[in-house]
Amino acid sequence: MKQFIITLITITFAALLVNCGGDSAKTSSANTLSGTVKIDGSSTVFPITEAVAEEFGKLYPKVRVTVGISGTGGGFKKYSIGETDINDASRPIKDKEIKKANENQIEFIELPVAYDGLSVVVNKNNSWLDYLTVNELHKIWKPGSQVHYWNDIRSNWPHKEIKLYGPGTDSGTFDYFTDAINGKSQSCRSDFTKSEDDNVLVQGVAGDTYALGFFGFAYYKENTDNLKIVPIDDGNGPISPSMESINNGTYSPLSRPIFIYVNPESLKRPEVDKFVEFYLAETYKLSEEVGYVGLPESLTKDIQQKYKTRSTGKWYSQK
C-alpha cells in the first residue's frame, strides 16, 4: 500500500515535470531572452500590465515578469529604493516621491499608457440614483462629512444608510479622486471600507443595494452585470464614462491618464527594454481590451520617442 502511494506521488510529480519541459519546446525559437522584470504599483493599471505580461510571456517565455498591487504610493516607495524596475501608477509621481528617488539616484521615464475614466458606481438594484453632481460627490466624500443616509444627499432619496467603498491611501486612484473632488489629495472622510484591491471594492458594492464606491473604469466594465455607473455632472450635464467621453475629456473631472514609470537603469537589461517596448506597442490594443481608453496616435508617437531617447522627467503630468 505504501509502495502504491509512493509510486502514485512519484508519477504525478514526474508528469508535472515532463509537462514543464514540454511547454518551452512548443513556443517560438526566439526565446533565449531571459531575466526578471519587477513591476509593482497601481491596481488600476494592473489589468493592463497583467495582460501585457501574459502576452509578452508567450513570446519570451524565459523572461520572468512579476506584477504586484501595492498601490501607486506603495509601489513608488519600492520603486524609489530600487526594488522594482517599473511602477504602475494611476496618478503622476509626487514631488516628495521624486525627492526620495533622487536621494537613491533613481530616475524615471514617465510613460502614459491609457486614459481612465475613474468611475463612481452603485449597486445594480439602486433605482433612485440618476446622476451625481461634483458638488454632491464632494459633500459625500469630504473629510468630516455628515452624509450618512442617501436622503442626506437629496431629500427624495431613501432614508437608508449609505455604505461607502474606496481604495486605500496607497492608491493612486484614491489620490486622484480626492484631489479632483475634494480639492486636495488624500483629504477625505475616513469611515469607508478601504482596500487597495479593487476587486474587493467591486464585491462590496455589488453585494449591497445601498453601496457607493469608486475605482478604475476597467473594473466597472468587467462587472457591468452587477454594477450601475453614476453619471457625473461637472456643470455641463451628467456624463457617463465611455470611450468617447473619456477620450475627449467631457467626462470630467475624473478622466485621467494612467502611467508606467520606468527606471532607465533597468532599461540597460535587454529583457526590461524589450518588455517596455512591447508594452508601448501593445498598450492601445490591450488597454481597450481590459476596459480603458487607448491613447491617440499623435500622443503615442511622442511617448515612444521619449522612450527611445530615454527622456526622464515629468513630461506628461504638468498640465
Binding site: G71, K77, D170, F192, T193, K194, Q203, D208
Partner: protein
C-alpha cells in the same frame, strides 16, 4: 586507549553542542519575535500615547485625521472569538462526550478521522467556504447581512476549531478513572447524571484548557476572516456587519506594503504585540488551569 577515549569524548561533546544549538534556535525565535515587536512598538508609542491606543474607539491610521485607538480592531477580533466559541464549544464538548462515553470503536474510527480532516483544512479554504456558501445562505435568511460580515467568518472559524475542542476534551474525559464513573452508576445515576456530576467536573481542568486554547486559536485566525469578514474597523456588536480584526488589518497594511519607518508601518508592530501578548497569555492561562485544577488520581 586513553587517547581514543579522549577523541571519542571530544566527538560526543561536539555532537552534543551542535544539537543543543538546534534547540536554541527556538529560543532565538522567541527572542527575535519579542525584540522586533518591542522595539518597533516602542517607536510607535513615542508618537502615540498608550492611552489613546488602548482605549481609543477610532482606528484610522492611514487617513488624515489619524486616530490610533485599537478598540475597533479588538472588538472585531472578539466578535469572531465569541461567535466561534458559540459553535465550537457546545458542539465540541458534546462530541467529546459522545466519543468517550457512547460511541463504539467503529464509530470512533469514523468520527476521529473526520475531525482530523476538518482540523487539517487550510484556512483559505474555510474563507472561501464562508464567502461562497455561508454568506449567501445568511443573506437569504437575514437580508440585511452585508456581503462581508463577521457572522460567516465566525461560523467557519468555529468549525475549524471544533476538532481541537473535541479532541482535547475527549482526552480529558478519557483520563478520568473508570472507578469514579462506575461509582456514580453504582449510586443509581443515569448516564447524563454521571456525565454532569462526575465526569465533567473531574475533567474540568482539561476541558477548560481546551476552551482557552481553541479561543486563542480563533483570536489569531487570519485568512478566513480576511476573506469573509471585511476591512472596516468599527466598534460594533452586530455580527452581520463588515468588521476588521487585528490580524486582517496587519494583512491589509502589508498588501499595500508600507515600507520601513513611518507611523503606518509601526502600527503593524503595535497591533502585532497586542496579538502576540494576548495569545501568549491565553496559552499560559490554559497551562495554568491544566495544572491548578488537575484532579490528582492516585
Amino acid at each position: 586507549m586513553r587517547l581514543l577515549f579522549r577523541q571519542i569524548n571530544l566527538k560526543e561533546k561536539g555532537i552534543e553542542i551542535f544539537l543543543s544549538l538546534s534547540a536554541f534556535v527556538s529560543i532565538l525565535t522567541t527572542m527575535g519575535i519579542i525584540m522586533i515587536l518591542f522595539t518597533e512598538s516602542f517607536q510607535f508609542f513615542k508618537n502615540v500615547s498608550p492611552v489613546e491606543f488602548f482605549f481609543g474607539t477610532q482606528w484610522e491610521p492611514l487617513l488624515v485625521p489619524k486616530s490610533f485607538g485599537i478598540l475597533p480592531l479588538l472588538s472585531g477580533t472578539l466578535i469572531i472569538v465569541a461567535g466561534s466559541a458559540l459553535i465550537s464549544i457546545p458542539f465540541g464538548v458534546l462530541t467529546a462526550i459522545y466519543l468517550s462515553q457512547f460511541a463504539s470503536e467503529k464509530t470512533r474510527n469514523i468520527i476521529k478521522p473526520v475531525l482530523e480532516i476538518l482540523a487539517g483544512i487550510p484556512t483559505v479554504v474555510y474563507g472561501f467556504f464562508a464567502l461562497s456558501f455561508i454568506t449567501p445562505i445568511l443573506r437569504s435568511i437575514l437580508p440585511f447581512t452585508e456581503v462581508f460580515n463577521a457572522a460567516s467568518a465566525s461560523i467557519v472559524v468555529g468549525i475549524m476549531i471544533l476538532p481541537m475542542v473535541a479532541s482535547l476534551c475527549d482526552d480529558a474525559l478519557r483520563s478520568v478513572p473508570r472507578s469514579l464513573k462506575e461509582g456514580g452508576f453504582a449510586l443509581g445515576s443515569t448516564d447524563f447524571e454521571v456525565i454532569k456530576g462526575v465526569l465533567v467536573p473531574s475533567a474540568f481542568s482539561g476541558i477548560m484548557a481546551s476552551f482557552i486554547l481553541a479561543l486563542s486559536r480563533a483570536f489569531g485566525e487570519t485568512m478566513a476572516v480576511t476573506i469573509a469578514a471585511g476591512a472596516t474597523p468599527k466598534l460594533t456588536i452586530n455580527p452581520l456587519e463588515s468588521i476588521q480584526t487585528m490580524t486582517s488589518y496587519i494583512v491589509q497594511v502589508s498588501l499595500g506594503d508600507t515600507p520601513q519607518g513611518g507611523i503606518e508601518y509601526q502600527t503593524i508592530f503595535a497591533v502585532g504585540i497586542v496579538l502576540f501578548g494576548v495569545t501568549l497569555l491565553m496559552n499560559f492561562f490554559a497551562n495554568w488551569v491544566m495544572n491548578r485544577y488537575r484532579e490528582v488520581y492516585e
